[in-house]
């Protein structure tokens, strides 16, 4: 569909513009920058600051109009430099500066401040304002991450519009009126949005600042590189800012296909973990006295011997590789090649918390296709918690576009309020829910009204991947032309699966490997940037697997629970310390850049694989990221065939008996902040994890005669835990929910994973009072 372009004249030049495009944007493309403060291309125009007034002539003579609010029209003439325009812009700037403190030398924004810059480029050069300026207490903490200085604020409405329109968290708002107007939160209700950091980035003055960056650097001292955020698999484009070999902040870059400039707070601020104390700077070898530092040479010799020994004594099936979804494509390719060279089939980048790799063999959708689909079917974890910027894009498609959401959920999600239909199902009834939902005529009518994209991922870590994947298959098979956007979580999980780390059958996945290890048949277990003890849903199996494995080799950037007892620990580079590429959930490949050096002698994962291969007599024939990239490009097409193998739900036992009173469905899913290493080792974020608790419906509280904060005991066939209870109005009486992977802050608060068995399709529990 070709759109008829509109021709307008800007300062004498003819400019072609898209219909509906605002004059300010068209002029900017033509090289005529019109000053602005409230205008932001990704938010609705409000025309408040009046800085973008220019003379626009639509045939009735030139009139001063806000160019952010006037769409282009054929024959329109725009003069951004006329005397009238200049006078108006100078006048507005003088008024804007009237109450703005001249504290630029101590302001974090100084040097990259739109107000400062435009005061120079478009201002009057002097102020006649001699009255006292507005005074407010400064700065105030409006959340644990964001500080607000109301004296600097020019009330452009960007942050408040962002919170309301983009994030859907209107927790900051204008209060009072006229000259006393301020941005403010409700008393005792902080701006605890998952996206709060964006407000500091888009603030055109130094009113909003992000705590992790406050007083850390001056903009002119920063070096920057474009890169990709790998905190999750959305793949937001970022700019990495560093100074003196320290990463100091990430800023979002407006990528039209992906993140539109936005970042979630986890992605924006967990760079702090790069410089955390728990980073491993040199190889460690386990001895009777604990880990001892070693040289690469001796650590690699030991590792080589371990692998060689396993191969010789019990063959390649006695070696298992788990992880690899946190690295680059190049890392994953090198490890896949190493596995292949050694004949090792047990490799899986997921930790029993994802979906079968066959998901990627289904017809795929892009984020852009999702955002323009008529219907998006959600059979996925809560996007707001796990893939936050995908949530923003989908929310935008619903709120500002015409996309409708059909959601399958056991607990409700951040998108429930935007869903056209939100289908509640019991953990084991997902297939029935799909059948019944599709039977409705109005649902059929909606699904046939245009493109359908299914967002598919693991919505419940206490249910089996098989069960949920079967429902996805059922759904896709039932909807003509439906495509799938995989909602897998780890930054490069799709890249790792596609680069050859996907297990070829369920017998080789992480669950099987851990089970084999628990049974004594694994000689060497390689943990490739992962922590099964913390991340594998079936906690007992993870413990048994690590204990049962002959030797454990951990390649990791940070010390973690699984690394503590590893026989060999190889220090790995983390993001921003290595170059390469990453693949996001839609399959888009983008680059990650090396901005700083690794601590100590840490290396990229691929280097370790290449050297091990060499030592084991299988030279991989590559010696640089570029060479691997070339290999990847040439073999990429072949990968994937295996995933179209039909997948069948092997066990029919989707419903567990209520024997023993296990009649409540346990739903476990991740929230944005957990005990994972990236959050836990970022000081600004660590405290935001909510801690361990279990949420129940008000009915259950009433039935048990307990209230929020009281302890309850949950018992499953697998085990039991005691947890504090909290009330959640979204839940039904036969479903309880707990956040996965929460840090253990209070002794006696159990880990809900103790209830999960990877051999059961659903986890049911009974609740007992703790007297």
């Amino acid at each position: 569909m070709s759109e008829q372009l509109v021709e307008i004249t800007v300062n004498g030049k003819t400019v072609s513009a898209k219909p509906g495009e605002m004059v300010i944007a068209a002029a900017e493309r033509a090289g005529d920058f019109i000053p602005r403060f409230c205008y932001h291309p990704r938010m609705s125009s409000v025309g408040m600051c009046r800085q973008c007034l220019v003379e626009i002539d639509t045939g009735r003579g030139p009139m001063l109009q806000p160019s952010c609010m006037v769409p282009v029209a054929p024959g329109m003439t725009v003069d951004t430099q006329s005397e009238t325009t200049k006078r108006a812009q100078e006048g507005i700037l003088e008024l804007l500066l009237a109450n703005h403190p001249l504290d630029c030398p101590v302001c974090d924004k100084g040097g990259e401040c739109p107000l400062q810059d435009q005061a120079f480029s478009h201002g009057p050069g002097e102020s006649r304002y001699i009255e006292e300026k507005r005074h407010y207490e400064k700065p105030i903490e409006i959340s644990s991450l964001i500080m607000l200085d109301r004296e600097r604020c020019i009330l452009c409405d960007r942050c408040t519009r962002f919170a309301d329109e983009v994030a859907g968290d209107p927790l900051i708002h204008f209060v009072e009126r006229g000259n006393a107007t301020q941005v403010m939160t409700y008393p005792d209700e902080p701006f605890s949005s998952h996206f709060s950091g964006n407000t500091a980035q888009i603030c055109p003055v130094g009113a909003l600042t992000a705590k992790p960056y406050r007083f850390k650097a001056r903009p002119w001292d920063l070096e920057q590189n474009n890169s990709t955020c790998t905190s999750c698999s959305v793949g937001c484009e970022i700019s990495v800012h560093s100074s003196r070999d320290q990463v100091l902040r990430y800023q979002g870059i407006d990528n039209d296909d992906v993140n539109w400039g936005w970042l979630c707070d986890r992605g924006r601020f967990n760079f702090e973990s790069i410089h955390a104390e728990g980073r491993i700077a040199e190889p460690l070898i386990k001895t009777a006295d604990g880990h001892q530092a070693a040289s690469w040479n001796s650590a690699m010799s030991i590792t080589t011997d371990l692998l060689k020994g396993a191969l010789e004594s019990k063959g390649p099936s006695s070696i298992g590789v788990i992880g690899g979804a946190r690295g680059t494509n190049e890392d994953a390719w090198a490890w896949a090649q190493l596995c292949s060279a050694l004949g090792v089939d047990r490799h899986d980048p997921q930790l029993g918390d994802g979906m079968p790799a066959a998901l990627l063999g289904m017809p795929r959708a892009t984020i852009r296709e999702m955002a323009s689909a008529s219907t998006v079917v959600l059979m996925a974890p809560d996007l707001k918690e796990e893939l936050p910027v995908l949530y923003l894009r989908l929310r935008d498609a619903v709120v500002n576009g015409s996309t409708k959401i059909i959601e399958f959920t056991s607990t409700g999600s951040g998108l429930t309020r935007h869903a056209w239909r939100s289908v509640r199902h019991g953990a084991g009834d997902i297939s029935t829910a799909v059948t019944e939902t599709l039977a409705y005529a109005e649902v059929q009518a909606q699904l046939s009204s245009g493109p359908v994209v299914v967002i598919a991922g693991r919505s419940n870590l206490a249910s089996s991947a098989e069960l949920e994947f079967a429902a996805v298959q059922q759904l896709v098979a039932s909807i003509d032309g439906a495509t799938v956007l995989p909602a897998l979580r780890r930054g490069n999980v799709v890249g790792a699966l596609q680069a050859g780390l996907a297990p070829e059958s369920p017998q080789h996945d992480s669950t099987s490997t851990l089970a084999a290890a628990a049974g004594g048949s694994i000689e060497v277990l390689v943990l490739l940037g992962c922590d099964p003890l913390a991340d594998f849903p079936d906690r007992e199996l993870a413990i048994a697997g690590l204990n049962g494995a002959g030797r454990v080799v951990s390649i990791t950037g940070h010390m973690n629970a699984s690394t503590v007892s590893a026989d060999v620990v190889l220090p790995a580079a983390v993001m921003s310390e290595k170059a390469g590429s990453t693949t996001n959930l839609e399959g888009r490949v983008s680059s990650v850049s090396k901005k700083i050096n690794t601590p100590g002698v840490a290396r990229a994962d691929w280097m370790i694989a290449v050297e091990l291969a060499d030592r084991l007599g299988s030279n991989l024939g590559v010696g640089s990221v570029e060479e691997i990239s070339a290999q990847l490009a040439s073999t990429g097409a072949e990968v994937g065939a295996v995933w179209s193998v039909p997948f069948e739900l092997t066990s029919s036992e989707t419903s567990v008996s209520s024997k023993g009173g296990y009649d409540i469905d346990l739903v476990v899913s991740r929230v944005m902040y957990d005990g994972g290493v990236a959050t836990a080792s970022s000081p600004s974020l660590a405290g935001l994890a909510q801690g361990r608790a279990v949420a129940v419906s008000p009915d259950v509280l009433e039935q048990l005669g307990i209230s929020t904060g009281d302890m309850i005991r949950l018992v499953s066939e697998r085990g039991s835990v005691e947890l504090p209870v909290c009330r959640d109005d979204r839940l039904s009486r036969d479903t309880i929910w707990a956040a996965f992977g929460q840090p253990d802050r209070e002794s006696g608060h159990g880990d809900v994973r103790a209830l999960i068995s990877s051999s059961a399709h659903v986890s049911r529990v009974r609740i007992e009072r703790v007297s």
Partner: protein, 207 residues
């Protein structure tokens, strides 16, 4: 202090139902809260946010824009002396001084016994009756300083209890749409057709 009482929640629900979108009831509900407690409490704002499905910050944002909402306790009688043009031309300052003297407080203050709060107000749409003032939004026209003193003493003694309800109460008659007569509020997203009488007329007419 205080969420809305059950009785007021019923009134609130009736008010909310009149609007195609619940947030439209925000200002009427803040008035209801102010009528209940004499001022708008934090708890009431949270309760209103729940009732209409917005955040408390949005309630505060809207509420603080409007002068009539008080977020701290005020006197039982709020005296607003108009100070805009015609009243200013005809002696508003004299009224203010008389009130300040009689009450022993300054403009903006509240008497120790919590009976009176004195404010200077903007135009009250009674300019031909200048200078004027309002007590809890009940008018006193063409007032003189002597009359202001008398008014305060009458309020103090309770002689005006019937005429002037305590601060927070505006209209003492509420609109009530009988269930059998009301058409009902419909979300605009659910309507695309012209109303019945328009369709009926155009079917019968030339078009």
């Amino acid at each position: 202090m205080a969420r809305l009482t059950d009785a007021n929640v019923s009134i609130a629900e009736e008010i909310i139902a009149r609007y195609p979108r619940a947030k439209s009831a925000l200002i009427p509900l803040l008035h209801l809260a102010q009528e209940q407690d004499g001022w708008v409490t934090d708890e009431a704002m949270r309760h209103i946010a729940e009732l209409i499905g917005v955040t408390p910050a949005e309630v505060l944002g809207t509420g603080t824009f409007y002068e009539m909402f008080k977020f701290e306790p005020v006197g039982k009688y709020l005296i607003n002396v108009c100070g805009t043009m015609s009243c200013a031309l005809l002696g508003a300052d004299d009224l203010m001084h008389a009130a300040e003297e009689e009450l022993g407080i300054h403009e903006g203050g509240t008497t120790d016994d919590g009976m009176f709060t004195l404010h200077r107000a903007e135009c009250q749409a009674a300019c031909t009756e200048a200078p004027c003032l309002q007590v809890n939004y009940r008018f006193k026209f063409r007032a003189t300083p002597v009359e202001v003193r008398q008014l305060i003493s009458d309020l103090r003694s309770g002689r005006l209890d019937d005429e002037v309800p305590p601060h927070g109460t505006l209209a003492r008659i509420r609109q009530h749409i009988p269930a059998d007569r009301g058409v009902g509020a419909v979300d605009p997203a659910d309507v695309t057709e012209p109303p019945a009488w328009i369709s009926a007329a155009s079917q019968g007419g030339a078009s």
